[in-house]
Point group: C2
Chain length 232, copies 2
DNA sequence: GATTCGTTCAAACGTTTGTTTGAATTGTAC
DNA sequence: GTACAATTCAAACAAACGTTTGAACGAATC
């Protein structure tokens, strides 16, 4: 019994993160106990507090490790768009694709937990948990400023409030799209077309249709006061 | 000290329901304890188990009392549409308005807890809690069958799977729209236009734009095989 | 081989959880 | 006023919670 069974010593951290990610999606933050996490990860109960400090810090780290990379990709996609345009205004559809396309690509990755995490993320926007939402707001601040600014410039005739709301609606549609298969099967029993590859064009058509929709009456009036003509 | 202070004896039930509804929205199901509920309602700790049996049964009753009425209104709105059409096919926009308009009307009622409940409902579709979701599926079965059927007939050229997905996306957008102000303020600090009266036309424009959007490539091909031309 | 540092471990900590209990209190009918 | 049923109450229940502790372990460094 001289050779140790454990192959790589400090994989405990990542095993905890992976196990917690799955359990949080399945049961939620509060309903997932430390004992559930550690027993699924195959580590000692005290390991979470040793490696992360507390349960809340573990939750934060789960979001941090995924969101940092996702938002980096988003900013890179926007940078690329702006570089290719060379000063010209961007097409709204390209902006939307840069933001939501990267998210859907991560959600399509079922092998490395990307899908699991995106389901968790979509639910968390509306989650009541205070500190998680505050953390999300900070993590998203830069990306949202960049993308909303790009949309404002791409749609100069549309009131900014309207763009903000529609962006918010799009986030909701995406959240449900990713979380979706489970909820959809409740609605329609004979439903089996959950192919993530088809989800992308499906959702993108819907999002762009919503973004380009005629403005509601009040916003329409306000827009005409400014001399604009069409929403998108 | 002969006259009792308590005005109406069996209002304990409704006081518990109202208090729990608010707390569930603020903190979620798991993070809301029986002691928080009963102390906010001003009743004894044992009252919940006496009147409802358990915490889970209380949650179910909260959804039951609101959803029964909401779905009754939805079916009535659809009945009225079909009666006025007199056999002719309905306009998709009218169907969507019948379904989401009633929900938004309830969400606009801030005085009798309708707004609070709709925020709770929108979050619960994607909630991991098993028994709540199963209960929701049962409670929604009839309404969804009626409305999806109406949409299928109103859009005979659009593949049913596509309609199902878009309906799902619309639910997501609505959920975020109602839960929305809090989340939006995280995104944009200088955001104050949360007037629920303006939310209705805003969301409806977006939803109809998404529903009428051109079909994605694959669905487009399938539709043309059937001989259709336009999505909506 | 002894020392040191990072990590793991079993056990226990004090709280808080949902629920139950049995007595006290209330409203209603006789 | 007495009897009865419904409701409220303070108190306690076992179970589960997140976290802490101090000893044991492992692999390096000298």
């Amino acid at each position: 019994m001289s050779t140790p069974i454990r192959p790589h010593p400090p994989e405990t951290r990542s095993r905890i993160l992976d196990a917690a990610e799955v359990l949080f999606v399945e049961h939620g933050f509060e309903a997932t106990s430390m004992r559930m996490i550690t027993s699924r990860a195959g580590v000692n109960l005290a390991a979470v507090n040793y490696h992360f400090g507390s349960k809340d810090a573990l939750i934060q780290e789960i979001f941090r490790r995924r969101l940092t990379e996702l938002n980096r990709q988003r900013l890179a996609a926007l940078d690329k768009l702006e570089a290719e345009a060379g000063g010209a205004t961007l097409k709204p559809s390209h902006i939307v694709e840069a933001f939501f396309g990267t998210a859907l690509a991560l959600a399509a990755d079922t092998e490395h937990g990307g899908h699991t995490f995106m389901r968790l993320l979509g639910r968390t926007y509306t989650e009541p948990n205070t500190f998680v939402r505050q953390f999300l707001a900070e993590e998203y601040a830069e990306v949202l400023e960049r993308f909303l600014g790009a949309l404002y410039r791409a749609l100069p005739d549309v009131p900014r409030e309207e763009i903000l709301w529609r962006f918010h609606f799009m986030m909701g549609a995406m959240s449900y799209a990713i979380a979706g298969t489970d909820a959809l099967q409740l609605f329609a029993g004979n439903f089996d077309d959950a192919d993530p590859a088809r989800l992308m064009p499906r959702l993108m058509s819907f999002l762009l249709g919503g973004l380009r929709a005629p403005l509601p009456d009040h916003a329409e009036l306000e827009k005409q006061r400014r001399g604009g003509r069409e929403a998108a």
